[in-house]
Symmetry: C2
Subunit: 379 residues, 2 copies
């Protein structure tokens, strides 16, 4: 193997490859990046078993002197290419033992691994594509992935559930205490119902961060392959049945409070400075519980009481209220803060029922987005 | 106590006060900020026993309704004032138990502590000031403090040593493996020799970050008081004799290599990506050791060998060389990187002796700055 390529082209591809590269692995070979250069093209592959990434480079700057394959220590290779200043980089395999990286007056020699030891990555075949604008996919991830469970107690909840019914693509995430749902109208495609690991969606969002055209999706029974530019990004899917959440979202609300989103956000952030930290379940993060009360006179108060520090109280003036009787609900400030941040709208509504029933956040400019939060009992 | 003040004025002063505020303390009262408002002025005090800070506010926006004293939970108070959006803030003591903070439609009540429990801070008397431009003090700190010891084995080395001899103010820091020395020509003042804890200098640098006029220094046997704007910043001094470092810095060098600083820095950063991590002493951080060789032909090579990963090598073209014979020196890349970053100069010189003798970094535009590094044996 011996070839020269523009550093910028190589680095741009390595940045995508890094999304699939584990820093540690029970299979040491996977901490390497597989390079495979033919007479005309360079293929690079990374895999952490959950995610596999392949990029295909046939850039004009690629000059192949001798084709070949190798596996190079991934993090070191990326760090070196990142730190190099030169326009061009030459990569040359020496005695099938060392990859020599030459750039300007720098010379780096990395011990390589045997490409025959690299597992064969079985990418889903490129048939029956579903095409989606990258922008919408990024939005779907941003609006739902934060609500997935972090605990592994119910593994299926650590993923985002994606279903297609006709032209209605629904993304759902829940950690049992809150639920995010975003619906996209798309072209007609065969129905599916899959659950994608949240970690894979995070990496996918980073990989397509600067990409704004259409991406194509390919499905198999246990894998999803996303293709964009010269990249194949594949993730395994989560096994098991995703719970039926269709009946969790209430449809009628006796109380609707409309706010300016930023005013509500800031008031909650200030009040939660003083809220006591409580655990909602044994191995989750701690949460600050705050209280929202609407009086008969329709005064809206967000407050918290912290026995050891003191009290906080913010009065809010809503844009509009519909209500039949006073209510008080308690909830995790973090849940409402994260829900509010997922909206583009400047005007949002809290849609509440009485008692310990979930309330729903909606936004006038986000008709397809629903954020549901389960209140906690305030005694 | 009851007064109103512009939020921005209060926050600006609290940002300075926060430099002396411990997050935890064996004396819980010290996690509070002491507020003392007279008919015309507001005093605020914080102390972590090493550092004490007092600010004196007599801003036009200060409207005192009732004078008084209290001690308020420091971090919560600062966080609330930081998050508040309103132009004005009202602070009112209720029943000598609660400080009520009112801003727009927000109301925060903090349990206060007894101001009689707050220790009396004994500030050095404001006599015999030494005046120095803030810019020069910041520079002095930036050029030396990174070289102090982090280990407490020799406590005196965790500080920066400051001596005045006539008009020559010398700042010295060393962790036994390297030494930084910066010299300032100042107005005549009585001689002194003190060692200031590095942590205090870090906080001082942050406190005066936006201040560019003269600051005044006041000395006592075990304390240093720095006055700037409306702020008193006091630190304890380190006990004990600072080692005599005057004869450590060699004065003649058979080998002088001049480089473009950025080229040298980048080459070292790249090579150190592959350098093995070694410990130079039992409880210090780990260091990457790299090698610099000058051949008979005056080729300069920076390199490292890492048995498990590979080798790195950068050739450098010096601006100028004076040498009598080839040398090879090994050293911690971190030490040289930190030393180089302390220079304003674009052209720097490595001044070397033969064998395992310290080498000295100097810069053409920093005549008063010396960075000395002890090489390690390369076998």
């Amino acid at each position: 193997m011996n070839f020269t390529i523009d550093r910028e082209v190589l680095l741009e591809n390595l940045n995508v490859i890094s999304r699939g590269l584990p820093s540690k692995s029970p299979m040491p070979i996977l901490t390497g990046i597989k390079l495979d250069v033919t007479n005309t093209d360079l293929y690079m592959t990374s895999s952490n078993t959950d995610i596999s990434v392949e990029t295909f480079v046939s850039d004009a700057s690629l000059k192949v002197i001798k084709p070949g394959k190798t596996v190079v220590p991934g993090r070191f290779f990326i760090d070196i290419v990142r730190k190099i200043n030169s326009k061009q980089i030459n990569l040359c395999l020496i005695d099938d033992k060392i990859l020599e990286i030459k750039a300007d007056r720098g010379e780096y020699k990395l011990h390589i691994m045997d490409p025959l030891d690299y597992p064969n990555i079985d990418f889903v075949s490129l048939e029956n594509p579903l095409s989606l604008p990258a922008e919408q996919v990024k939005n779907l991830i941003k609006q739902t992935s934060f609500a997935t469970a972090t605990s592994e107690k119910k593994p299926i909840l650590t993923g985002v559930h994606l279903t297609l019914d006709g032209t209605k693509l629904t993304a759902t995430a829940t950690d049992s205490f809150r639920l995010s749902q975003s619906i996209l109208e798309i072209e007609n495609y065969r129905p599916f119902s899959i659950t994608i690991p949240n970690k894979s969606l995070d990496e996918l969002a980073k990989a397509i961060d600067n990409f704004n055209e259409a991406i194509t999706l390919y499905f198999s029974s246990n894998k999803l392959l996303v293709k964009f530019k010269n990249v194949l990004f594949q993730t395994r899917l989560l096994d098991g049945n995703y719970p039926d959440t269709s009946r969790l979202i209430p449809t009628s609300f006796p109380i609707i409070l409309k706010f300016n989103k930023d005013e509500l956000l800031e008031a909650i952030e200030r009040v939660s400075l003083l809220s006591p930290r409580e655990k909602m379940s044994s191995n989750e993060l701690s949460y600050s519980i705050i209280k929202l009360s609407v009086s008969k006179e329709q005064n809206i108060i967000i407050s918290t009481t912290n026995a050891s520090i003191g009290d906080a109280l913010e009065e809010l003036i809503p844009i509009d209220t519909q209500m039949n009787k006073p209510i008080t609900i308690g909830f995790s400030s973090r849940y409402l803060i994260e829900a509010l941040r997922s909206f583009e709208s400047t005007e949002i509504a809290l849609n509440c029922s009485e008692g310990i029933r979930p309330f729903v956040v909606t936004g006038e400019k986000d008709p397809n987005l629903t954020q549901l939060i389960l209140p906690v009992r305030m005694d």
